[in-house]
């Protein structure tokens, strides 16, 4: 990224993503701050980009913690059969198991 004071929107939005990960070098940070002051579109992008990140995190946590979601019965049976087969001797025979 060329360190110039005047950024295009394409450059500014890329810096917005990099900034979310780690602090930008001073020159880039200044250039981005200036750009966001006068560009309403990139300012919206910056706010919305972090909302998208937040939404992704929430959605993942919601599914991972949702007690209503259970391993389907058919899959449970199939997996148990594979485990039994893999444990070998003493395991129950698996019908049609590979």
């Amino acid at each position: 990224m060329a360190l110039k004071i005047s950024l295009s929107c394409q450059e500014a939005t890329l810096l917005v993503e990099e900034r979310a990960d780690a602090p930008l070098p001073l020159k880039a940070a200044v250039a981005l701050t200036v750009h966001l002051l006068y560009c309403p579109y990139c300012k919206r992008y910056a706010a919305q980009s972090s909302m998208v990140a937040q939404l992704a995190l929430f959605a993942g946590q919601h599914t991972a913690g949702n007690a209503e979601i259970t391993l389907p019965g058919a899959a449970r049976t199939r997996i148990q059969q594979r485990l039994d087969a893999a444990q070998g001797g003493g395991g129950k025979p698996v019908p049609g198991g590979v």
Binding site: C9, E17, R44, F58, A59, L71, A86, Q87
Partner: protein
């Protein structure tokens, strides 16, 4: 009952794991976790199965330093990364190459000057933070994530759902740092736009 078992699943050193109890004790939890990181239930089931079979193979290595549950989740997380490594590999491109599928910067910005194209000006969103926790927002995200090219979906999910550091993602997926940022940028541009079309920014 299941929760009290898993809460007390910290094994003291040397205590033997109980493979026969894995599925009844942890099956649902492992499945939910897998499902929160991949898009379909078949893949999530597959991940649970692979994880438990891997655990069986690795029983000798389990020393009881972590709980059995933690150990199984570590294996599952590993398998999720491997899943995305396979997914992200384009059939005709080298691993580090940017995917030829999907929109690029030129979709959103004027190539001459890098300004937003008129049709892609971000609209103002009315979305309050609380709205992000609503079911329809999650549904919109799922719909939009599905439409990302495989490489973008892999990087986006590992970064923003699994919360892996950028360096780890680059290593695991064999992507250079420069390409990593291009992918993150394109994925966000595409998701932002798709969510907006889906009505996320509209006042409810």
């Amino acid at each position: 009952m299941a929760s009290s078992i898993s809460d007390s699943a910290f094994l003291s050193a040397g205590e033997a794991p109980e493979p026969a109890q894995w599925l009844p004790r942890y099956g649902d939890e492992l499945y939910r976790f897998a499902l929160s990181r991949v898009s379909d239930s078949d893949t999530a089931e597959e991940l649970v199965q692979t994880t438990l079979l891997n655990a069986l193979d690795g029983l000798a290595k389990f020393r009881g330093e972590a709980s059995e549950r933690t150990w199984l989740f570590t294996i599952l997380r590993r398998n999720i990364i491997d899943h995305y490594r396979r997914e992200a590999r384009h059939p005709t491109q080298s691993l580090d190459a940017l995917t030829p599928d999907g929109p690029t910067e030129a979709t959103f910005f004027e190539p001459e000057n890098g300004h937003w194209r008129d049709a892609h000006y971000p609209e103002g969103w009315q979305t309050a933070d609380a709205a992000l926790e609503q079911a329809d927002a999650r549904e919109a995200l799922r719909h939009c994530q599905e439409r990302l090219p495989a490489q973008h979906k892999a990087v986006f999910t590992l970064r923003f759902v699994e919360e892996l550091p950028a360096e780890t993602i680059c290593q695991e997926l064999g992507v250079s740092a420069a390409n990593y940022w291009v992918i993150i940028h394109r994925a966000k541009l595409q998701l932002r736009r798709c969510l907006e079309k889906f009505g996320l920014g509209r006042a409810g």
